[in-house]
């Protein structure tokens, strides 16, 4: 009985995982191989037809490109900004650092839906504060249509995403900086190294592991981000900001092609699983063997 107890204690968690993760995943896989009609509830075997339909759809490739840009460029930008703020906070300016640290983390704790709506209004062409200040400074013309222009919509959503993700990067980098042994800096100071050289030769190499983890995590989270894009543009205008998670909804619940939607979500699952393995590899590389 004693030997069985641990397994019995695991049963609730296993059942939960089975119903919440495994069952939907398997059902989704079945749907992706079927011709599912939501209206009649019927489904027939379709083989790989749904996958073929996804790959032959020009919108998939456009969304894939958008997602890659949104995830990679957005994450890199957020990391750079996060690193900058972490350096600032690491200067340890007493209460100022504490207050600023709290303020900088606000975007991270705001719900993505709320943040999306807020950014939608900030970027409004007629009443948005962003346009007001940028046009006041002569940087953009009055009435620039950030979200209504196919050329700037994705960039605008990406800015909002960067704004939300940089605090996490900042906190992680700050923690990384605070764990760097002070002796390294003291030795460098004795050798006459400037602040810039200390940054490039001590701080940055010590943050490599944190940066790699953040990069992979950021790409995974952004790749999977539905809320910000859906709230701000719904993938528009004219699909210019369409990303893969929003496209899954588009296929499944706008076109009601559940088979194609499921096939796309399996493709995304595959991509994210690959990225997750990469993440685990990066994490395990930093651990002692």
């Amino acid at each position: 009985m004693k030997r069985l107890t641990p397994y019995l204690l695991l049963v609730p968690a296993l059942l939960f995982t089975l119903f919440v993760l495994i069952y939907p995943l398997i059902q989704n896989l079945i749907n992706s191989l079927s011709d599912v009609s939501m209206i009649t509830g019927s489904s027939g075997w379709a083989g790989l037809q749904n996958y073929q339909n996804v790959f032959e759809d020009a919108l998939f490739w456009r969304s894939f490109r958008n997602t890659a840009v949104y995830a990679i460029a957005g994450t890199v930008l957020a990391l750079v900004i996060g690193l900058g703020f972490a350096l600032l906070l690491n200067l340890k300016l007493g209460k100022f650092s504490t207050i600023m640290g709290c303020l900088y983390t606000i975007p991270w704790v705001i719900s993505p839906v709320v943040a999306g709506f807020a950014w939608k209004w900030l970027l409004n062409d007629n009443f948005g504060i962003v346009n007001f200040w940028l046009s006041y400074a002569g940087i953009v013309p009055i009435g620039t249509t950030w979200l209504g222009d196919p050329g700037t919509a994705l960039l605008s959503v990406m800015v909002a995403r960067v704004w939300q993700f940089y605090p996490f990067a900042m906190v992680m980098f700050l923690a990384g900086m605070q764990s760097i042994p002070q002796e390294q800096y003291e030795a460098a100071a004795v050798d006459g190294a400037t602040m810039v050289r200390r940054f490039f030769y001590i701080t940055l190499p010590n943050l490599k592991a944190v940066g790699s983890v953040l990069l992979v995590l950021g790409v995974i989270w952004s790749f999977n981000d539905f809320n910000m894009v859906f709230v701000m543009t719904r993938g528009g205008p004219m699909n210019s900001s369409m990303v893969l998670p929003v496209l899954v909804r588009e296929f499944s619940f706008v076109h009601f092609d559940l088979g194609k939607g499921s096939a796309l979500s399996i493709i995304i699952f595959g991509l994210l699983t690959t990225l997750s393995f990469l993440y685990l590899k990066v994490v395990s590389r930093g651990e002692p063997s």
Binding site: N126, G148, P150, F253, V254
Partner: protein, 427 residues
């Protein structure tokens, strides 16, 4: 001992909370969309239904109008869904034959009930031989004109396409004198695929264009008149620059803000718009007129059809309480209930003969225009794929034409080809 006591208490509590009074019939009523005033009215109506119908309990839920199809599809396909719900009347063609909506003409007193309604409005709830709901409220799409801007410019609301284009041009200007155009003649709802189609098609209908052939087998919106309708809007955007540049991102709220702040002079809207504007800018006035017609059709200005939209109340065919749901439906949509559309601004037009012919109707703003427009208006063709075609095919191609990616003809031809493919697949 303590464990036993705890278990006994837990068991009793579970049994008590799981117990259901068997003599009470519980109905689920899903309300999609609506302004706060309408939602409040529906709550009161249900409350009074429960008072007058002991033994019936109604659970009301408010749902998003924008996600109506996906919510219903997901629930219906899972064998769930409410007993009663309000939806677009054109869903009759989609959910009726699929067996999700109960044909209300099967109730024995339907012939009596049908006499309550304006006959052609009731017809919008019909698909083939069955009626799949009772009309809730009707909408005719019209042109709303910002009175302040029109009066300042000294022009009257347009009746023809050339007057419309000219008015939009004249009302597009730099109003605050900073060298940048900040007032536009027309605003379009480009950020909502369905909403955009509903605002474009009135121009097509007014020009005599059919979306589909009468037998619903052939797409016809790419006729020469259809191309001319799209070219009108395309030219206004590309040549005159009289349409707000950021329209592709706009939904209801942006349009309301632009209209109220005098940055937009005209919009294609419905009876909800006056109330929406009044909520934001109390006292702001507008001209509400019919959507303009092509110049050579000026003689038909008052009779050419606009788009008719209608909300209906339907019953889930899988409801366990069909008769009780029918009682609720009638209570929500009888003469007495419909009078509220006359006495309060609920954002649409009444549908019963009693309300429309009542003395109260005389004092409702724009009602004569809406009654006239509704008497000539046409709904979307009753094809199960119509809404999908309008949102997913018609809208994207029209938008591509407006911003200059395609010519109006190429856009409509390509849209027609794709839409035809959907029709053929449905066969």
């Amino acid at each position: 001992m303590r464990q036993k006591l705890f278990l006994t208490l837990l068991l009793s509590f579970t049994l008590l909370t799981c117990g259901k009074r068997s003599d009470v019939v519980e109905l689920q009523d899903w309300n999609f969309g609506g302004r706060p005033r309408l939602i409040e009215f529906l709550r009161q109506r249900v409350y009074s239904f429960e008072k007058t119908h002991p033994g019936m309990k109604v659970i009301q839920s408010d749902k998003s109008w924008n996600m109506i199809r996906e919510i219903l599809y997901a629930d219906f396909s899972a064998g769930a869904g409410p007993d009663v719900m309000n939806t677009h009347s054109n869903f009759a063609a989609e959910f009726g034959p699929a067996g999700f909506y109960y044909p209300v003409n099967k109730f024995p007193d339907f012939e009596e009930v049908r006499k309550w309604y304006v006959p052609h409005l009731l017809e919008s709830t019909r698909y083939k031989d069955n009626y799949y709901g009772l009309p809730s409220s009707a909408i005719a799409f019209v042109l709303v004109c910002n009175k302040e801007l029109f009066d300042k410019e000294g022009i009257t609301p347009p009746r023809t396409w050339s007057q419309f284009r000219e008015a939009a041009k004249r009302l597009t200007k730099d109003a605050d004198g900073d060298g940048v155009v900040d007032q536009f003649g027309l605003v379009l709802m480009g950020g909502d695929k369905g909403g955009f189609a509903y605002r474009m098609i009135p121009f097509f209908f007014k020009a005599g264009v059919n979306v589909m052939s009468d037998d619903l087998t052939k797409i016809e919106f790419n006729s020469s008149r259809g191309v001319a309708a799209l070219k009108l809007i395309t030219d206004m955007y590309q040549v005159d620059h009289s349409i707000t540049p950021g329209f592709l991102a706009y939904t209801h709220s942006e349009i309301n803000d632009l209209f109220c702040s005098n940055k937009a002079a005209m919009s294609i809207e419905g009876p909800w718009f006056r109330g929406m504007v009044d909520d934001k800018s109390p006292g702001k006035d507008m001209y509400v007129v019919a959507v303009p017609v092509p110049d050579d059709m000026i003689g038909q200005y008052e009779t050419a059809p606009t788009l008719q939209d209608m909300v209906m109340y339907s019953i889930n065919a899988h409801s366990k309480h069909l008769n009780e749901a029918w009682e609720l439906l009638k209570y929500l949509r009888n003469d007495e209930a419909d009078m509220f559309w006359m006495t309060q601004d609920l954002g649409a037009t009444a549908t019963t003969l009693h309300a429309l012919n009542s003395p109260e109707a005389q004092s409702v703003k724009d009602i004569q225009l809406y009654i006239n427009e509704l008497s000539h208006a046409r709904p979307w063709p009753p094809h199960p794929s119509m809404i999908a075609i309008a949102s997913n095919v018609f809208t994207p191609y029209c938008q591509r034409a407006i911003v200059g990616e395609l010519s109006p003809k190429a856009a409509l031809d390509q849209a027609a080809k794709e839409a035809q493919h959907i029709l053929d697949a449905k066969k």
